[in-house]
C-alpha cells in the first residue's frame, strides 16, 4: 500500500517513550525516501503519457490524471511523515540542551549513538545559538530549572568528579559517595548530568 512505510516511520517515533530518543531509523527512513522517488517517476510517466496522447493535462480528468494525483498525494504524505520524523526528533534534541547540557560530549554515550551525523551537527549549532543568546542577555538560563525552595540543598556525589571543582563560594573535594551541603545553583548542573543526586527528607 502506498505511504504505508511513512506511517511505520511515524509509528516508530510515536512508540518511543515521550522525550526519549530512539536510534535514527536509517533503514526505514531511506525506504520512504526511495518510495518518494518512485512515486515521482511514475507521476512523471503518467503526465508524459497524457502529453503523448495530447490531452490537456490541466483540464482532463481521466484515469491517468487520477493516477498521477494518487502518486502526488502519496508523495506529499511521505514527505510529511519524513519531516515529522526529523522535526520531532529535532525537538527532543532541542530539549536536551535544556535538560542535560550544551556540549555534545556532555550527553550520555547511549544518547549520542542514537543521533545521526546531521543531528549531532544540529545539536551543536543549536546549543551555540542558545549560548550566544545567554551571553547577549547576560543571564545563564540553564540553571534554576525548578522553583527554588531553599537556596541550599543536600547532595550526594555519585561519581568521581576529581578534586578542586570550583563552586561559587568555596572549593570542595567532591569525592565519590561524599555528601555536601551546596548552593542549589551550583549543584543543579551536576545533578542534571547524573553526577550527583539530591537528598530529600
Amino acid at each position: 500500500m502506498y505511504a504505508r512505510k511513512g506511517y511505520e516511520l511515524v509509528k516508530d517515533l510515536a512508540n518511543g517513550e515521550k522525550g526519549q530518543l530512539q536510534p535514527f531509523n536509517e533503514d526505514l527512513f531511506n525506504q520512504v525516501v526511495d518510495q518518494c522517488t518512485q512515486h515521482y517517476l511514475e507521476l512523471q510517466a503518467l503526465i508524459r503519457k497524457m502529453h503523448e496522447e495530447s490531452v490537456d493535462v490541466r483540464e482532463t480528468r481521466n484515469a491517468d490524471h487520477y493516477g498521477a494525483l494518487i502518486h502526488h498525494l502519496s508523495l506529499i504524505r511521505n514527505k510529511r511523515c519524513l519531516m515529522a520524523y526529523v522535526h520531532n526528533r529535532a525537538e527532543i534534541i532541542q530539549s536536551f540542551a535544556w535538560k542535560v547540557g550544551l556540549e555534545l560530549l556532555e550527553l550520555p554515550e547511549e544518547v549520542q549513538e542514537k543521533l545521526s551525523p546531521s543531528e549531532k551537527n544540529y545539536f551543536g549549532k543549536h546549543s551555540a545559538a542558545l549560548q550566544s543568546y545567554m551571553a547577549e542577555v547576560g543571564i545563564d538560563l540553564n540553571v534554576d530549572m525548578v522553583p527554588p525552595k531553599d537556596p541550599y540543598i543536600k547532595v550526594r556525589v555519585l561519581d568521581d568528579m576529581g578534586e578542586g571543582i570550583l563552586l561559587s563560594d568555596k572549593t570542595a573535594n567532591l569525592a565519590r559517595h561524599s555528601m555536601h551541603f551546596l548552593k542549589r545553583t551550583d549543584a543543579e548542573q551536576y545533578i542534571a548530568r547524573g553526577l550527583m543526586e539530591e537528598l530529600t527528607g
Binding site: V33, C36, T37, Y40, H72, L75, I76, K79, R80, L82, M83, V86, H87, A90, E91, Q94, W98, S116, S118, E119, N121, Y122, K125, H126, A129, L130, S132, Y133, E136, V137, G138, I139, D140, L141, V143, D144, P147, P148, D150, P151, R184, T185
Partner: protein
C-alpha cells in the same frame, strides 16, 4: 467599622504588592506559560528586574561582608533566588515557544515584532540551523518540486508545512475588572458577551486574546 477599615488597609496593601515589578513579572510569566502563542516581550519590565537583581546581589554581598546575621542574609538570598528563577523561567518559556513555532514566528511580522532583539537573533539563527538540518536529512533527497520547507509541494498556494500555534485551545483565566462586549473582538460577539471580575473562567484562548493583550485579563 474597625473591620471595614482593616479591610480597606488590606486592599491598599494588596494593590501596592500587586504593582511591584516582581509581581508584574510573575503575572507576565504566568500569562506566557499559559498562552499557546508568544506574547509581547516585556522589555522595560525585564530591564528593571535585572537592575533590581543586581542591586539585591550587591546588598547580599555587603551584608555578608558586614557580618550581618546569617539568617537575615539567607532570607534576602532566598528572595533574590526566587526573583532570579522567575526571570530565567520567563525567558526560558519564551525561547521554548520560539523553538516550537520557529518557522511561523519568523514569517509572521506580528510575532516577530513581539520578540526582543536578542530573541529575534536567536530565532533567525535557529531557523537557519534547523532549516539546513531538515534540508540535509530530508528535503535534498526529495524530487525538485517537493523540496520547499514551508510548502508541501509547489502546487500548494499557502505555506502548509508550518506548525502554527493553536489559538483554539482552552485556557483558564480571570478578569481583573468587569469586561463588557466591547472588550472582546467583535467577531466573537456570539460566543462571549461579558465576564465578571475575578471569576475563574475556562474559555477558548482566541476569544480572550484581545483583553489579554490589553492587560485586562490574567491567565492562570
Amino acid at each position: 467599622m474597625a473591620t471595614e477599615e482593616s479591610a480597606s488597609v488590606m486592599d491598599d496593601y494588596e494593590t501596592l504588592i500587586s504593582t511591584t515589578d516582581v509581581e508584574l513579572l510573575k503575572r507576565a510569566w504566568r500569562n506566557e506559560k499559559a498562552a499557546p502563542e508568544i506574547l509581547q516581550f516585556e522589555s522595560s519590565l525585564v530591564q528593571r528586574i535585572k537592575e533590581q537583581i543586581e542591586l539585591a546581589e550587591q546588598n547580599v554581598e555587603i551584608s555578608e561582608a558586614n557580618n550581618i546575621d546569617p539568617l537575615t542574609v539567607s532570607l534576602y538570598q532566598m528572595d533574590l533566588d526566587r526573583t532570579q528563577f522567575l526571570l530565567r523561567s520567563y525567558l526560558r518559556v519564551r525561547l521554548q515557544k520560539i523553538e516550537k513555532y520557529l518557522f511561523y514566528v519568523l514569517k509572521t511580522d506580528e510575532y516577530l515584532n513581539r520578540l526582543s532583539k536578542q530573541e529575534q537573533m536567536f530565532a533567525r539563527r535557529c531557523t537557519d540551523d534547523l532549516g539546513s538540518h531538515l534540508d540535509e536529512t530530508v528535503l535534498a533527497k526529495l524530487p525538485d518540486n517537493y523540496q520547499s520547507i514551508l510548502k508541501q509541494s509547489i502546487t500548494s498556494e499557502e505555506d502548509d508545512m508550518v506548525p502554527v500555534p493553536r489559538l483554539d485551545t482552552f485556557v483558564i483565566c480571570k478578569a481583573k475588572q468587569y469586561l463588557s462586549g466591547l472588550d472582546f473582538e467583535p467577531e466573537y460577539s456570539m460566543e462571549i458577551t461579558e465576564m465578571e471580575r475575578d471569576l475563574l473562567t475556562f474559555v477558548c484562548y482566541k476569544f480572550i486574546k484581545k483583553p489579554l493583550e490589553n492587560g485586562k485579563i490574567d491567565l492562570v
